[in-house]
């Protein structure tokens, strides 16, 4: 029994830490309707600002606090002014992508400045400890709780009793109406970013001191947990975000108590999916509140697609098919083969996210399912490799659709977050289901890529094979899009209410589209497994899901040609920037930002 008290206290302590992040994310979402993927990076910058102040400059703690808040606030100001404001009036997807680009840039800048090795961030506050249960609670725990509660209180006061606060709430409720009433929406946005980023930076400082540990890789995980916590509590709902964070901490702690440490995150993400499916507004939203979502059809930018004539496409395809004959450099071949593989993933996601409007953030899971399916079929049953890849596509289509099916009734961001969670769940199941997947040891000696018993040995043959598969999948998708089915899918995206009143069964069509898309992703994963000969749970990680989405947005949502071109660019650019060594991810981030800024509908436009 005493242990359960300890588990509860520990859950609340860690929930307390999540709350610091979730509050900032909730505030920004509440006003800007934006999942701020750069929030973790602001948190990172805050941690390092604190490191500079305390360790390098030797400033006292109160001064450090003020400094860190100032740095965070300033950063928020810059992000809002130069990263997001120019994207106003663009579809909601553009700022989302911009925050991803900003987070690349910020993380890289921190890493280049302070090196990648972790650093200590010592604090006297930690050494003052009080007995609680059988463990102790530190003064820092109390400071963290106090900061969380005080900021929530101040926010409440600000939102409820100040004029700017009213403006914030009015903007959150209806941006256009607020603007018509004379609210300076830009000022509101700026204020929100300044507050949230100041808070985010302090969170970085506090968490860094709490663990006496900061490193440049800490931002992604922080964003992930913060997003989960705020969605559990109800997106855009500040008190809800705090409650959701505490609940998340408790669930994780009890999960460890019951099943062991390796199941911790599994619980967090299962909780998320359950909450989303049962109470999509979050646990703490009032029932009558409408879901805070953009109006139908405004999430993805309508634009005039830039269509290449079939003749040009055929010409380019023939030229690409001849490339190995003229220029058989294996490095170029490999890079293009990678691009073709990610092109298949891009086709999959551009159909699901672009044509149907379900923005999936867990697409790497489909690669993983395909990869494991094909590898296991070949390893355990000795099925010939070409056939296993085809089967992997079918298995991925079935399994992927079943896993995501409960989330089909969700819209916009909610669907995205559900798929993010499903992606994490798949990866954790692979890690823990050792009997099937060999857990972290992974699958080795996967038979090499072969077709009808002939091994594809050279880089050229792999190039041709992947290109051929990509072309077949692309042709199928062109066919699908121009058919009656394609029109139905686009109708659902543009106005699901209207589509339903025309008698379209949304779930069934979504499932059909998802299965078609998953098939392509599964094929891509299957080929990859045989190409690599070794995969484990880390081979297809969450970063790949972000990459897939970037490919699709860059190419133009729903655009088949765009997905392939996007893939060639995003796989190719890091290779082109290879000469820049440590700077290449930074350059990549900047290029991404510029693309979003000047071509938000993607290179080829939405279809």
């Amino acid at each position: 029994m005493a242990s359960w008290i300890d588990y509860t206290i520990n859950g609340l302590i860690i929930g307390n830490i999540y709350a610091l992040l979730a509050v900032g994310l909730a505030l920004i979402f509440g006003v800007s309707r934006l999942i701020n993927f750069a929030h973790g990076s602001v948190y990172l910058v805050g941690a390092y600002a604190g490191f500079v102040a305390t360790t390098m400059l030797g400033l006292p703690l109160p001064v450090t606090f003020v400094l860190v808040v100032a740095v965070g606030a300033l950063l928020g100001l810059v992000i809002e002014r130069f990263g997001l404001r120019p994207l106003q009036g663009y579809a909601h997807i553009a700022p989302l992508l911009a925050t991803i680009g900003i987070s690349f840039v910020l993380d890289q800048l921190v890493q280049l400045t302070f090196a990648a090795t972790p650093r200590a961030l010592p604090s006297d506050l930690l050494d003052k400890r009080f007995q609680l249960g059988s463990g102790t609670i530190g003064a820092l725990d109390l400071v963290i709780a106090a900061v969380g509660l005080t900021s929530a209180g101040l926010l409440y006061y600000f939102l409820r009793f100040t004029q700017l606060g009213w403006a914030v709430r009015a903007t959150a409720q209806d941006r256009d109406a607020a603007q018509q009433m004379g609210v300076d929406v830009n000022a509101v946005n700026r204020t929100v970013f300044v507050i949230a980023s100041g808070l985010g930076a302090v969170s970085g400082l506090l968490v860094g001191m709490y663990y006496n540990y900061i490193d440049p890789a800490m931002s992604f995980q922080a964003t992930l947990k913060g997003v989960v916590a705020q969605v559990v509590g109800g997106v855009g709902n500040v008190p809800g975000a705090i409650a959701g964070s505490l609940l998340l901490g408790l669930v994780e702690s009890y999960g460890i108590a019951l099943f062991g440490t390796s199941y911790r995150n599994l619980f967090a993400f299962v909780l998320l999916v359950v909450v989303l499916v049962l109470r999509p507004n979050g646990l703490f939203a009032s029932a009558r509140q409408t879901p805070p979502e953009p109006m139908t059809g405004t999430f993805i930018a309508p634009s005039k697609p830039f269509a290449l004539s079939p003749r040009v496409l055929i010409g380019i395809t023939i030229a690409l098919a001849l490339l190995p004959a003229v220029y058989p450099d294996p490095y170029i071949m490999q890079t293009f083969s990678n691009a073709w593989l990610y092109g298949m993933l891009g086709l999959s996601l551009t159909l699901i996210a672009g044509t149907v409007g379900m923005i999936s953030l867990g697409h790497a899971a489909l690669l993983a399912i395909g990869g494991y399916a094909s590898a296991l079929l070949a390893l355990n049953f000795g099925i010939p490799v070409g056939f296993t890849i085809l089967l992997a596509g079918v298995i991925t289509a079935a399994l992927g659709t079943i896993l995501v099916f409960p989330s089909f009734r969700l819209r916009g961001h909610y669907f995205s977050i559900a798929t993010l969670a499903v992606g994490e769940i798949v990866s954790l199941v692979i890690l823990n289901w050792e009997g099937l997947t060999r857990g972290p040891i992974g699958l080795s000696a996967i038979p090499p890529l072969s077709l009808f018993g002939v091994e594809l040995e050279s880089a050229q043959s792999v190039y041709w094979f992947t290109l051929a598969v990509l072309v077949v999948l692309a042709l199928l998708q062109f066919r699908l899009l121009s058919s009656h089915l394609g029109r139905v899918l686009r109708a659902m995206r543009d106005d699901d209410v209207a589509a339903r009143s025309y008698g379209i069964r949304l779930d069934r069509y979504k499932a059909l589209a998802f299965a078609f898309g998953s098939f392509a992703a599964g094929i891509s994963g299957g080929i990859t497994a045989h190409l690599y000969s070794y995969i484990n749970h880390e081979t297809f990680n969450a970063q790949l899901s972000i990459l897939a989405l970037t490919i699709v947005i860059l190419g133009g949502m729903g655009n088949v040609t765009g997905a392939v071109v996007g893939s060639v660019l995003l796989i190719g650019l890091p290779e082109v920037f290879r000469v820049a060594a440590e700077y290449r991810v930074l350059i990549y981030g900047v290029v991404l930002l510029l693309l979003v800024r000047f071509r938000p509908q993607g290179l080829f436009g939405t279809v």
């Binding site: 972790p118 294996p330 972290p440 992974g442 080795s444």
Partner: protein
Amino acid sequence: MSVFNRRQFVGGSAALLAAASLPAHAEPAKGEPVTMGVSGPLTGPNAQYGTQWKQGFDLALDQINAAGGIKGRPLAYVFEDSQSDPRQAVAVAQKFVADKKIVVELGDFASPASMAASPIYQKAKLVQFGFTNSHPDFTKGGDYMWSNSVSQADEQPLSAAYAVKTLGLKKIAVLHLNTDWGRTSKDIFIKAAKDYGAEIVAVEGYIPDEKDFRSTLVRVRDAKPDGLMLLSYYSDAALIARQVKQAGIKLPLVAASSVYSPKLIELGGESVEGLFTASRYFPDDPRPTVKSFVAAFKAKYNKEPDAFNAYAYDTVILMGQVMNQFGFEREQIHQGLAKVKDVPSVIFGKATFDTATRRVSGAMNVELVVKDGRFQLHEGSIATR
């Protein structure tokens, strides 16, 4: 922004980088350099390890090139950033195998990246030297996959002996990184500890991103162990030690040699005081190889080397000797690795490959304890094989 400016910027930074990786005083070695390809993380979540590699490499290159290089030519390396991501590692592999200048490849860091690239190196008959790849299947990828990483089959029985025989632990709780390395280590450690007569009362695997261990420690405490075994890297070991102290658990901590780094003490502070660990070498080690390595490292970087610095250093020294003895053509290096004997090594004392497994066995072992904020020899232990 104009294309011209970007090119300038890219070109400029490339030149800077090239200047940084050139050996500091290479007068004795002249001419066209003999180039090794390195595939490893310089950006991304594992970037810190790539940075540590470079320090070890550069130090070894300084020494080799000052002593005449490879048959009079300077030894150098090209570091291609893979972010330890399999997709980029295979592209880098194709680049290296096609580049006739590259005579041997070192890396990658993590097994998914290294082993994804193995088929390419194997087909092209370019040695892939995975010096941090302890995955038991790595060298099974083909006869061009070699490794001098310390095999866990070698190390973990020593850890178990330290915990059970030297320290007298009878009921051990094991916390391990849930990665291929941690999983392999855990299985071997548990088997060895049981053979020595200890009981394993709890086993908890955690993912590398984990920072909060409070609830895990409640679970561990309830299993009533008389000691904790950490199969961790230094960063997570420091986090665990800190939270052990905060949870009020007063049990001895034993950690695998992978925590041996000045960073453990920096990050762990007082909470790692009394932590038992082992190392392949020790700064006050009387062995001349270690003495010169530690002294030169301190002189160049003004800090103590850690395990990854030592692996990287050892590897380049080894390659230098193989090339000087057997030639620096790709195939000569492949043959040379099988023939080379007793290369002076910080990690192994003297390194000789087992030609069946293409690994080196018999790593040195020193039992250490953290005392007064530094690693010190554990009472009564001496550097032994």
